[in-house]
Amino acid sequence: MVKTRIIATLLLSNKGIVKSYKFDRKRYIGDPINTLKIFNDQEAQEIVILDIDKYKDKNNLDFNFLKKITSECFCPLTYGGGIKTLDDAIEIFKCGFEKILFNKNLFINPELVKSLVSKTGSQSIVACIEYISATKKVFLYDDIPENFARFTLEDVCKYCESLGVGEILLQSRDKDGSFSGLDFDIYEEISKNITIPIILSGGCKDLEDIKKANFKKINGIAASSIFIFLSENKGVLINYPSKNEINRF
């Protein structure tokens, strides 16, 4: 029985862990090394770390800082944010991450994504696609080439598949941090015609929501708020579900 993967997403901003609400209103959560250590102690299945400032940052990636984060973590780690060259990507792997997540580079620099796929294999590359749940439309940043403007969400997923990525993380912007429930409809629509694993992200409400994802045989879900906050509008408490809770699904 293949179970739904339960992935914790952590956002880095200014070397601290933050949590956004609908891609806005960032709230400081804590120190990244400590936060990661707690997730590691709670035996999180997988962790995705996204530096949300790096894409606009002219400075190089701080590999020593990233190594400090990974050295206390003995679970699978994905990194995304500010990767500009093949050398950056290779350094990221050397820091102890086994996957790299791309977002804007999928459209702006597909050659980088493709050359990395051929070097490391599909399984190391994740495509993160942002979309709006309310309209089911893909969200493209202003600086993405115009030819993508007419693409539907499914077109974009197929395009990413053609680049050779190993999986797609479907990120709902309007569900982000909202506790409004995972977007199962979009998963059903998109996964029909996509052969690689799809991870559903945005709006995860509670353990019941994850249980439902497992029942629907969804490849993976990624969530942040439910693992960071006690509940909606409440204080910070890192709480990744225990193995027993997951086994009861």
Partner: protein, 210 residues
């Protein structure tokens, strides 16, 4: 007697995640050194071959850095030990469907596409995530680890050893396949031991204690 001062060699062939491996070995309180090529070997007798990337790339890098000839020449019956993870296990065999290069051929058998095991559409490739391993044979490498423990997998190919007796553990991806193997002092896991939390650490400790 376990020699805690013994140095473990972590083979860094190109894009491997050697940092994760050394972090785990250090966490276990043991010495390790990341070795870029065979000229950096001093007293190491135990080697870990991490795995990221595809088969041919791995083999070509092992050749370029001297590891290919080194591993083929040493005797794994007595003083040398080798532990491969993921592609690091696959390269121990003689060939792979993923590429054209000849493998290290330290173990007899081949590496095949997971597509051969797929029996329904719900089973996706690459295989990613935590999966149970069933122990089918006793071995020191699995001491203090429960049967059906889950480990972390990311792969598209699997090993088919010619001699089924070298299989210690098996997992299922449509059909069963070998996920822990051992012959003489050569060990391999298809999953990422270095990324499998406490049970990965137990497995690592068992190798270091051999």
């Amino acid at each position: 007697m376990i020699d805690c001062n013994e140095k473990i060699g972590i083979v860094d062939y190109g894009m491997s995640n050697s940092f994760s491996v050394i972090s785990m070995v250090n966490r276990l309180g043991r010495n390790a050194k990341i070795l870029k090529d065979t000229s950096e070997i001093s007293t190491e007798k135990k080697f870990i071959l991490p795995g990221v990337g595809n088969f041919d790339n791995a083999i070509l890098n092992l050749k370029r850095l001297g590891w290919f000839d080194f591993f083929r020449a040493i005797d794994f019956k007595k003083k040398y030990y080798l532990f491969g993870f993921c592609v690091g296990m696959q390269v121990l065999f003689s060939k792979s469907e993923e590429g054209k290069e000849e493998g290290l051929s330290l173990l007899e058998g081949e590496v095949l596409s997971l597509k051969k095991l797929q029996n329904n559409k719900n089973i996706k490739i690459p295989a990613m995530g935590w999966k149970k391993v069933n122990f089918i044979k006793n071995n020191k490498i699995i001491d203090n680890i429960d049967d059906e423990t889950s480990f972390y997998f990311v792969h598209s190919y699997f090993c088919l050893p010619k001699d089924p007796n070298i299989i210690i553990g098996r997992s299922n991806h449509g059909h069963d396949y070998a996920t822990i193997i051992s012959e003489n002092n050569i060990y391999g896991t298809q999953f990422h031991t270095e990324k499998s939390h406490k049970n990965g650490m137990r497995l690592m400790k068992n190798f270091l204690d051999l």
